[in-house]
């Protein structure tokens, strides 16, 4: 990417070392708090490694056998062994298995029955048996079922109309009808509509303008008006802009520079804002954001499925295309 000139570089090797070391760290408070969402952590860390071309640095069989142990009788996955199933962890489990081309270890009927069972009559989705409803869960369920080729198990029409009912006057989406537009929720709603072929429900010009208004002077993106920029929005905002074909409306050079400024060049990892402490979550969003910006040396990531494009192609086009490409 010559246009980016000498604005600094992605410390790719440092980030690989960081990802590989982070989960081995003893005594950190973060790892304690992460115990229940280890499955999400696995997805963030492993997808980052794959985008950096280093997925082979981990032991696939160990990870796959751990994932299988996290599955509950209901078909859903918990955040760790022995934890209750939740759709959040179920998608992460499916995504990680997809990264490794190991979806065949799943009883797809069982997993998809669990996910489809979380749809409510109005088309919305609950996250688990306790019924918390949120457009995040609509995306997760739709993405998960699509990766498993089982979208026919839900009422897609109702799912779409629920999401559309969460659309706001600014073109964005909230967590439920009336909820404030938020870039994270927008990603979920746009992603779900993209996967179900229902992007025509979006006012692309209006939403695109709202999304590009999220770019602040430093080049970073925020998630709502008057909020601070955060590297995670490089993913939420950027992927949404790409899905509605409006990504050229932001200043890409400035955003690349912002993300690179958030790197810890000594120990690896990426933080939310320059000079803050790094974590796996922001490292993933930073690298994924750079991938969406076509940064040299990174695998391309699919904006709707949040998986490398070659992984998505393998699932939807078949193995043949991988060899050809």
């Amino acid at each position: 990417m010559e246009i980016f000139g000498d604005m600094g570089e992605l410390a790719a090797e440092k980030h690989v070392e960081y990802i590989l070391s982070v989960e081995k760290k003893k005594d950190s408070f973060e790892s304690v708090v992460m115990e229940h969402l280890r499955m999400n952590g696995a997805y963030w860390g492993l997808t980052t490694l794959d985008l950096l071309g280093k997925l082979h640095a981990v032991d696939v069989d160990q990870i796959v056998s751990w994932i299988i142990k996290c599955q509950h009788d209901s078909g859903g996955f918990g955040g760790n062994i022995g934890h209750d199933p939740h759709v959040l962890y179920t998608l992460s489990a499916v995504q990680v298995l997809a990264l490794f081309d190991k979806l065949d270890v799943l009883d797809i009927e069982k997993v998809s029955t669990y996910v489809a069972g979380l749809q409510n009559e109005d088309g919305s989705f609950s996250g688990d048996m306790w019924g918390e409803i949120d457009t995040r869960f609509s995306y997760i369920a739709i993405c998960c079922l699509s990766l498993l080729h089982r979208l026919d198990k839900i009422n897609v029409e109702n799912a779409v109309s629920y999401i559309v009912s969460c659309k706001n006057l600014d073109g964005g989406f909230g967590c439920m009808p009336g909820g404030e537009s938020h870039a994270g929720q927008i990603f979920c709603c746009v992603g779900a509509l993209a996967i179900t072929g229902a992007l025509h429900h979006i006012d692309k010009d209006l939403l695109g303008w709202w999304l590009c208004e999220r770019q602040v002077k430093s080049g970073g993106l925020n998630g709502r008006p008057e909020k601070l920029p955060d590297v995670c929005y490089s993913w939420w905002v950027l992927s949404s802009l790409i899905m509605i074909d409006r990504v050229h409306w932001i200043n890409k050079e400035k955003l690349v520079k912002y993300i690179l400024d958030c790197q810890d060049l000594d120990n690896g990892g990426i933080s939310d804002r320059p000079d803050d402490a790094v974590d796996v979550y922001h490292t993933y969003f930073g690298v994924a954001g750079l991938s969406l910006l076509e940064y040299t040396g990174l695998k391309a990531i699919d904006p709707a499925y949040a998986l490398p494009v070659d992984v998505v192609n393998r699932i939807f086009i078949g193995r043949q295309s991988k060899k050809e490409s």
Partner: protein, 334 residues
């Protein structure tokens, strides 16, 4: 996530294995799988609490000591779904007075209120209590919002309370209050829109339009750089472009901001939208836009919309591509 107050609590913390009431329980450690990929070292107190939690959870012991154990486990890590889930099972089995549970969630919120599980639990309690909880819920969210006026969970909960349990009476004046504190608070503008479109007390968007437009016009003139108020103004004319284009209050607000020549990006983009929807600008608008152009810039002739796009491209360079696109769309239309 660890606040200093919870650190103090840790200092007085007595390990479960030393507490007589727990001597009959055999703690159950976390199974991290075969030679775990991601071995996690837990803080001692956390490990022990969770070991006892797992023992009771797997034994399905819905007792008062199990309830107090979940309190401790939640204080240690309020993000764990399973602990909250088990707590609800216990609360149901013991038929505990849920008013006390409201106090418990408030205590958890004092440590960290940005937590999905906490709010879902709170909603579960409020749903069980019904309308007797209304004022407490509104008060609780108000308290959280006084600390962080854009707290996404608190706003979601508040909207749910209003729609499910009611309590709309003072909501519009609450929005006034918050906007008086911070006119840039997008959450408060969003809530204002939620109230005027959903409250049974105000007669809906059309009935409220006149008073809301004059309120909002004052806001955009006072702070023309405020994205939220401009979007709200536009939203007041949802599905009614005709009224929007023909309401002199809107175009004259643009004119007023443009005359001041300061922070005029949203005023100018609103004017552009108005023109695209059929607004016929008079000479006064043309003169003002000309005055914003650079002295040596090409006179765009009679095409005011194009001149506007050029000005926006210059004064909002980070979105130059967007404004260029707006300009290109104009020529397509011709």
């Amino acid at each position: 996530m660890a606040s200093s107050s919870s650190d103090e609590e840790f200092r007085q913390w007595i390990p479960f294995r030393q507490r007589p009431e727990w001597s009959d329980v055999k703690p159950l450690p976390q199974d991290d799988g075969p030679s775990p990929v991601v071995p996690i070292a837990y803080k001692d107190s956390f490990v022990e609490t969770m070991d006892y939690f797992r023992a009771l959870y797997h034994g399905d012991e819905r007792s008062f000591r199990a309830l107090s154990l979940t309190s401790e486990a939640i204080q240690l890590n309020p993000g764990n779904y399973t602990v909250w889930h088990f707590r609800r099972l216990i609360l149901e089995a013991l038929e505990v007075d849920l008013q006390n549970e409201l106090d418990f969630t408030e205590a958890v919120a004092r440590g960290n209120s940005k937590n999905y599980q906490l709010w879902h639990h709170r909603r579960w309690i409020a749903e069980k209590l019904g309308t007797i909880a209304t004022s407490k819920e509104l008060e609780f969210t108000r308290k959280i919002l006084s600390l962080d006026a854009k707290h996404y969970h608190a706003w979601s909960h508040r909207q749910w309370v209003l729609q499910t349990l009611g309590g709309w009476d003072d909501e519009l004046s609450y929005c006034d209050e918050l906007l008086e504190e911070d006119i840039f608070n997008n959450s408060a503008w969003n809530q204002r829109y939620f109230v005027i479109t959903n409250s049974p007390l105000h007669g809906g968007l059309k009935a409220m339009r006149t008073s809301e437009v004059s309120y909002t016009v004052k806001a955009v003139i006072a702070y023309p750089e405020n994205e939220s108020s401009w979007r709200y103004l536009r939203g007041l004319y949802k599905d009614d472009n005709h009224s929007w284009v023909n309401d002199a209050q809107v175009s004259s607000a643009c004119l007023k901001v443009l005359s001041a020549k300061n922070n005029y990006v949203f005023a100018l983009s609103t004017l552009l939208d108005l023109i695209c929807h059929g607004f016929q600008p008079n000479q006064e608008f043309r003169d003002i836009v000309d005055a914003l152009g650079t002295p040596d810039s090409d006179r765009q002739g009679s095409d005011l919309a194009k001149s506007i796009c050029s000005v926006l491209e210059r004064v909002d360079p980070i979105r130059a591509n967007y404004w260029r696109w707006r300009r290109s769309k104009l020529s397509q239309a011709v």
